[in-house]
Amino acid sequence: MPLNFEELAGGSGEWLKGSGPESDIVISSRIRLARNLAEFPFIARVTDADRAEIEKILRARIAASNDSKRFASELIYVDVSQLQEVDRAFLVERQLISRELSESEGARAVAIDSCEQYSVMINEEDHLRIQAMHSGLDLDTVWEQITALDDLIEEQVTYAYNEKLGYLTACPTNVGTGIRVSVMLHLPALVITRQIDKVFRSLQKINLAVRGLYGEGSQAMGDFYQISNQITLGMSEQELIKKVADVVPVLIDYERQAREFLVRESQETLHDRVSRAYGILRNAQTISSEETLHLLSSVRMGVNLGLIGDVEIPTVNKLFVHTQPAHLQKLAGMELDSSDRNIERATYLRRHLGGDGQQAEQN
């Protein structure tokens, strides 16, 4: 079954479903495992033939896992090296592949299930990057699912592993468990009250990393932040999961307190800010993706605080991704340059937020 990009573009995937525990603040829970095949060099030293052979072996493992019926989700295999640039960008926006996989060269692939809970990248920084994610705060379920998939893939291959150092990875920052546990949070009130930097510094002190929406090195977009473990060696997967899971309720509490404070101390300012954001999104004729994310963030908080009543969270969540450049082009069914995209984006927002005198979209 090939991947249907048009069908995919219309939906919003697991992580933007807006369901699951604490989903007003916690967007998604995600775990990834880094694995390498023992019999090949790491990606930095592979020949083209090695790359192709790794891809072939792992493609067969994915097919075998589908055939075995022991894994509940069917994985759809996508040869990333054959994709157009806009389709690769689309998968990056959707968080199904990394920028690194999108922009590298040679044999590489990803396997995805139709609910977008799983994404298995082949020939990224490591031979294998297995990812699983859930909407809301639910790391334990994600771990159960990903470790089962890891076992299934491993059945006919030998992972690079040694007793002392655990799973061997291309970068020593991932060695040991090879696990990255991350929770994506929406923290607009901590940003408005300028407490976010303080929060980050205290997280860094306990060895947790903070990144913006689209991973390493990128700016936080729309006040979305990913909290993840920094170390991977010397603690078990369960301990590392717990380390991240334990800090999330504290962050949720801080964000809630900051929201309550804003409601209590500056209700009018807050209501004005949210309403203006909503007004612009419903009426703009041309709008950039940065401004859209910034305004959608205020609207999302406004909906959660009951200040906006006629639009629902899943719609807002969907708009965060649907207004990204590659999504807009897939949805419009044509290539658009930057200024045409800004017009298309404004039209799309008006249509879905009930501008132009229409009703806002109900989910």
Partner: protein
């Protein structure tokens, strides 16, 4: 309420974390801004990339003799030198963790504060991962032998590779259930 640092009206109520303990502060906008600004010298970039951390760790001891010594340290399996690893931050093959063990131990301590794995063990562990790693060296040597038109050596290496690959394909030990 008045600002704790000047006489203006306090409009920012900040919960500061000092060693994990919350500490309430009530400040005016100006005082709050200077309080929340990152201390001088500290980067305002609040999102350090993992790679940045690694680069920092790798940037120690860059004298000429040191670099020459690191140049000579080469992995016999994949051929990467320790200096190349330091430059790109990515290792060349699983065996690097063995042949650069001494240098990496300090690095791992700096990054993870630990040098021993705790946690999941692959189900198929025991299927000889070390022997599999030798395939990397043999394939590289075979490629070099062909390039040097040393066909006798290449064919010997090919047989050795096939032998190991055969044990891989026959290993039912990793089948679960």
């Amino acid at each position: 309420m008045k600002c704790q640092k000047c006489d203006k009206q306090a409009t920012f109520h900040i919960t500061d974390l000092v060693d994990g303990e919350p500490n309430e502060l009530h400040l005016c906008e100006d005082c709050a801004q200077s309080f929340l600004a990152p201390p001088p010298g500290e980067s305002s970039d609040v999102m350090p990339a993992m790679a940045g951390l690694l680069a920092q760790q790798l940037a120690v001891g860059e004298t000429a003799e040191e670099l020459a010594r690191l140049d000579k340290q080469v992995c016999p399996v994949c051929g990467i030198s320790f200096r190349e690893f330091r430059k790109q931050g990515r290792l060349g093959c699983p065996y690097d963790y063995t042949c650069f063990a001494e240098e990496l131990d300090q690095l791992l301590l700096n990054i993870h504060d630990e040098t021993h794995h705790v946690g999941k063990v692959p189900k198929g562990f025991g299927a000889d991962a070390e022997q599999q790693t030798q395939l990397i060296r043999l394939r590289r040597e075979m490629k070099e032998a062909v390039a040097n038109e040393n066909y006798e050596e290449a064919s010997r290496l090919r047989d050795e590779i096939r032998e190991i690959e055969k044990t891989r394909d026959e290993s039912p030990s990793v089948e679960s259930d």
